[in-house]
């Protein structure tokens, strides 16, 4: 079971709580998590990554085990603690502005 923590606005949009639990087939990567998340919550399509390019939106960040993994390749394996559900995968709206 993968645990994903959503930012406030995406929780409101998808009408879910702070944490979403997902089943992911195969290696646990950013892409696999986001594919599973969008399959479970279609309301989130286009909000985390671009519809066409599938690139992460510029002001969205990903954290795993207290590390910013936003710039890691989308198919890179995430830490074991995330893969076994011990640690959540955080999707965060970047703190921007003054």
């Amino acid at each position: 079971m993968i645990r994903v923590i959503l930012p406030y606005h995406l929780r409101e949009l998808a009408n879910v709580g702070r944490e979403v639990q997902l089943h992911v087939q195969g290696p646990v990567t950013q892409r696999a998590i986001l594919d599973a998340l969008e399959a479970k919550l279609p309301a989130l399509k286009g909000t985390i990554r671009d519809h066409g390019t599938q690139a992460r939106r510029p002001l969205v960040r990903f954290f795993a085990c207290e590390e910013d993994v936003s710039h890691d390749p989308p198919d890179a394996p995430l830490p074991e603690a995330v893969a076994i559900g011990k640690e959540p995968f955080f999707i965060i709206g970047a703190i921007a502005g003054g």
Binding site: P7, Y8, H9, L10, E12, L13, A43, K45, G46, T47, I48, D50, H51, G52, R57, L59, V60, G93, A94, A96
Partner: protein, 371 residues
């Protein structure tokens, strides 16, 4: 019992203001979609309870919401806006080619005949259409593809398609406007467009009389005379009597001919309204006095409307989509400010009062007249 419903889009959510035909006491509902930028809300003329909303965020992108019941409940619609084919480039601020990138929807214009059909004006400038109530969107790419797109350039607010006027007399004719490309018209339902900027003069571009490149802020028409268009340009208030084929200036005695919104009285096609704004750098009312100007002569001769509006220390702006009129008798005029006030006048502009004073910055105001 008649009434009005005012749809207000703000930097931090959507608000629905309702009143009876007297327009003295108001109910305020919202914020809906709190924290999101609501660029525009508009109801279907065919089914007024069907309301469409452009909800956007720099973080999480574009959403389209629709309501089946006048704003009581909302349904998420489709948010995939893909340019048709390879979008190519437009001019960037420094004049270099820049790829077309979808950013947000500035304006939604529901069809005059079908509640499921809606047009959407996007940044970077393009016109989209849905025929299934917003589930899917397709670009009317004849606009970008007509040849001048590579010469369009963003204004300070972005390269936005902000005005969509549907001709009540001709379903195949649509007028649109883009900052900073100018005005365009299709006569074949959106397959092809042509620029309609003859007569515009913009000293801030290399060729002041160029066919494209003008920073048009807003266009308005009266539904009984769709060939007569009124335009608030970056500078100059303009008028066309031939569906945009030619324009002439009607700024007349305005204290400044810069501004953003322009609108037409619901029952008097020659009565028009603007809000002069000091520019090019300040973007607030001249002398700190918030004044709507009314012309009863289709331009050139303007009178200041001030009763009930702040006449000192007022430094708000009124954005291009933030003015609207109802169709009651007398015609009501409404506008919202970047300071969060929404003002209404139930008597065509003679007297004003705030409906609300402390909303987030107002991006758009639309009014529905309900029977």
């Amino acid at each position: 019992m008649s009434g009005v419903r005012v749809l207000v889009g703000t930097r931090k959510g959507a608000f629905v203001l309702t009143s009876d035909g007297k327009r003295q006491k108001w109910d305020v509902a919202g914020p809906h979609f709190g924290g999101w930028e609501i660029y525009h809300m508009k109801g279907s003329p065919v089914d007024p309870n069907r309301i469409y909303v452009s909800q956007t965020s720099s973080w999480f992108g574009q959403q389209i919401q629709r309501s089946p019941d006048g704003g009581k409940t909302w349904e998420q619609a489709g948010n995939k806006f893909a340019y048709d084919g390879v979008p190519g480039t437009h001019k960037w601020y420094d004049g270099t080619p820049h790829p077309w990138e979808f950013k947000r929807v500035w304006h939604l214009e529901p069809s005059l005949s079908d509640p499921e059909t809606v047009y959407a004006g996007a940044e970077d400038a393009a016109l989209f259409r849905t025929t299934d109530a917003g589930q899917t969107w397709s670009e009317l790419s004849g606009l970008r593809g007509h040849g001048s797109g590579s010469r369009w350039q963003p204004g300070a607010g972005g390269m936005c398609l902000h005005t969509i006027l549907l001709d009540p007399a001709d379903p195949k004719r649509i007028f649109i406007a883009i900052s900073a490309a100018g005005a365009f018209r299709t006569d074949d339902g959106g397959q092809t467009f042509k620029p309609i900027n003859q007569g515009l003069r913009s000293e801030y571009i290399p060729d002041p009389k160029a066919d494209v490149g003008h920073c048009v802020h807003r266009i308005a028409m009266h539904r009984s005379r769709p060939n007569v268009l009124f335009m608030q340009k970056h500078w100059d208030v303009m008028r066309s009597d031939d569906a945009g084929d030619s324009w002439r200036e009607v700024s007349g005695n305005l204290p400044t001919d810069f501004g953003f919104p322009i609108d037409v009285h619901a029952h008097e096609p020659e009565t028009i309204y603007v809000v002069p704004i000091k520019s090019d750098s300040e973007h607030y009312p001249p002398e700190g006095k918030l004044r709507v100007y009314r012309s009863r002569t289709g331009g050139n001769e303007w009178e200041a409307l001030t009763k009930g509006l702040p006449q000192s220390d007022c430094y708000v702006n009124v954005l291009r989509d933030a003015m609207a009129v109802d169709s009651l008798d007398k015609c009501g005029i409404y506008f919202g400010t970047t300071g969060g006030q929404v003002y209404s006048s139930p008597d065509a502009g003679d007297n004003w009062a705030p409906i609300v004073r402390d909303l987030p910055a107002v991006l758009s105001v639309e009014v529905q007249t309900l029977s």
